[in-house]
């Protein structure tokens, strides 16, 4: 049985990972609500964020901020490419939704292979954004990176809320999520909005990947676990508002961390999938039932 401090330490660590799941979940929601598509390539954006940032830091020697910004822009462009080359042609040909969703899975595998061939298959990491940690509170150690994740996560959620509720384009994106035909009839370019949703979602994934890499590692294979956990977090949040997705991710991260302490690391995914099944069985609309305005 773990003592209280061990448990608290683990839960704090889980909070950081959970917030990252939350950001990935928001990415899922942005695309799903704009198009009805569950983008299973979402985890790829997280992996690419970390990989690009690492490459820019180590090979080009860029400072962290520049590497992060350029990586986010590059991954957003990858998101746009996925939409333009794969999703849009299928969308225009009125392909069934399940076929488009399967195509996103194929995109994930394809990008994984491209990363192995170009950047290699070895795991890599880079230092925390602020060196000199962790912050010690008695027996509890809190890495500075957790504060970066908390801060950036909060800023991104607030920025997204403002974007979706206060800007013309943000409202148009929400309109597309509710009634695409009506949106088009009012002059909203629905195809461009779908492209924007992919760019936004990819950028969120990249930011999540850049933030989490210093606390663990990144490699071509991290996309799967991050994608699945982000998807579970999105379901817990009900594919609704950004805060709901973030809360869903945080809950998942913290519960997983608790499961590791109580049952061992092997049970981490068992617990995550059990939570998924419980939510699907008893709360099919998520714990928050689509609470709040959709993103």
């Amino acid at each position: 049985m773990p003592n209280g401090f061990e448990l608290l330490q683990s839960l704090i660590n889980g909070l950081g990972v959970g917030l990252v799941y939350g950001l990935i979940a928001i990415g899922f929601c942005v695309i799903y609500n704009a198009s009805g598509i569950v983008n299973f390539a979402q985890g790829v954006f997280v992996m690419l964020g970390g990989m690009f940032a690492h490459t820019l830091l180590t090979r080009l020697g860029l400072p962290m901020l520049a590497a992060a910004v350029i990586s986010i822009v590059l991954v957003a462009m990858v998101g746009v490419l996925v939409q333009v080359l794969v999703i849009n042609p299928m969308w225009q040909r009125k392909a069934p939704l399940f076929a488009i969703i399967l195509a996103t899975l194929a995109v994930q595998l394809l990008i994984e292979q491209i990363v192995i061939l170009t950047l290699g298959d070895q795991p890599r990491t880079y230092p925390e954004f602020t060196l000199g940690g962790p912050l010690k509170l008695g027996p509890i150690a809190i890495g500075y990176q957790l504060f970066w994740i908390l801060g950036c996560g909060a800023v991104m959620v607030v920025a997204l809320q403002l974007f979706f509720n206060r800007t013309r384009v943000g409202r148009a994106l929400r309109a597309c999520s509710q009634n695409r035909e009506a949106a088009a009839l009012l002059g909203i370019p629905v195809a461009s909005m779908l492209m924007l949703s992919f760019a936004l979602s990819a950028a969120l994934g990249a930011a999540a990947g850049i933030l989490i890499t210093p606390t663990q590692y990144t490699a071509y294979s991290v996309d799967g676990p991050f994608g699945i956990n982000g998807f579970i977090a999105a379901i817990i949040g009900g594919f609704g508002s950004a805060p709901a997705a973030l809360v869903g991710g945080t809950l998942l991260g913290v519960v997983q961390a608790g499961a590791i302490v109580f049952f061992g690391a092997g049970y981490k995914n068992v617990v995550a999938l059990t939570i998924l099944l419980i939510v699907l069985l008893f709360f099919p609309n998520g714990l928050f039932g689509g609470w709040g305005k959709r993103v």
Binding site: R168, R174, Q178, N179, A184, L185, G187
Partner: protein, 242 residues
């Protein structure tokens, strides 16, 4: 352009045809609406009325030609029609039901860009026509009554400053008094110069407002005649089933 109209029609459709798979829902038809004219398309259930408006709005693929003020707009995508001044109010209203009245109206003005003064002016216009919408500005669209939702659908369309307003059965599901109020407003808008193409099943009210009437049945355009020539249901039935 017709022989007795020197300027091009507001909208002119030639040989418009549409199908769902192998089922031809709309056989090649011709139709036109002059500037500032009120035209009604009447037809029974399944006549192809909604298909006609969806084809004209480019929501579904179709054959034939569509001209707007003499310009061929056949290949123009749906979202560009609003900027030209063609707005359609869908059957079932097509509201953004999780958004507020204010947000729905703001989205109606999407094509105006960021011009705040113009948008404010349109808000005032719409609120003057439908004062109820001003009272309900902060309310979510889904929580309003059917009549209020229809007001919002028409108000939202007006936010775009249309030259041609196409409406698909706006009276559907409304109490007769409420439907009459909506149609009266459409008459008022038409008197101020707005071209209106109204698709309806309920003949009496639609006939009172229209100058010309098209009669559509089983996907065929059966007749085009002045509204005053239809005096009874018997006249209509003759066209529906001939």
């Amino acid at each position: 352009m017709t022989a007795d109209s020197p300027s091009p029609a507001l909208i002119e459709v030639n040989g418009l045809a549409a199908s769902y798979g192998h089922v031809a829902a709309l056989k090649p038809i011709d139709l036109r609406v002059e500037e500032g004219e009120f035209v009604t398309v009447l037809g029974p259930n399944g006549a192809g009325k909604t298909t006609l408006l969806r084809a004209m709005s480019r929501l579904i693929a179709s054959d034939g030609k569509i001209k707007f003020k003499g310009r061929d707009i056949t290949g123009v995508p749906t979202h560009r029609l609003a900027k030209l001044g063609i707005i359609m109010v869908q059957e079932g209203r097509g509201l953004f039901s999780e958004m507020t009245v204010q947000e729905n109206l703001q989205l109606g003005a999407y094509g105006l860009g960021g011009s705040r003064d113009q948008v404010e002016g349109r808000f005032e216009q719409v609120f003057r026509l439908f004062p109820r919408l001003r009272e309900r500005a902060g309310q979510v669209a889904a929580s309003m009554s059917g009549g209020e939702q229809q007001m919002l659908a028409v108000g939202r369309a007006l936010m775009a400053g249309p030259k041609l307003l196409m409406l698909d059965e706006p009276s559907l599901g409304l109490a007769p008094m409420v439907a009459a109020g909506i149609l009266d407003t459409l008459g008022e808008l038409n008197r101020s110069g707005l071209g209106i193409l109204l698709v309806e099943q309920k003949a009496p009210q639609a006939l009172k407002l229209a100058r010309r009437v098209y009669i559509l049945s089983s996907g065929y355009m059966r007749a085009e005649l002045p509204a005053q020539d239809i005096k009874s249901h018997h006249d209509l039935a003759r066209y529906y089933f001939h």
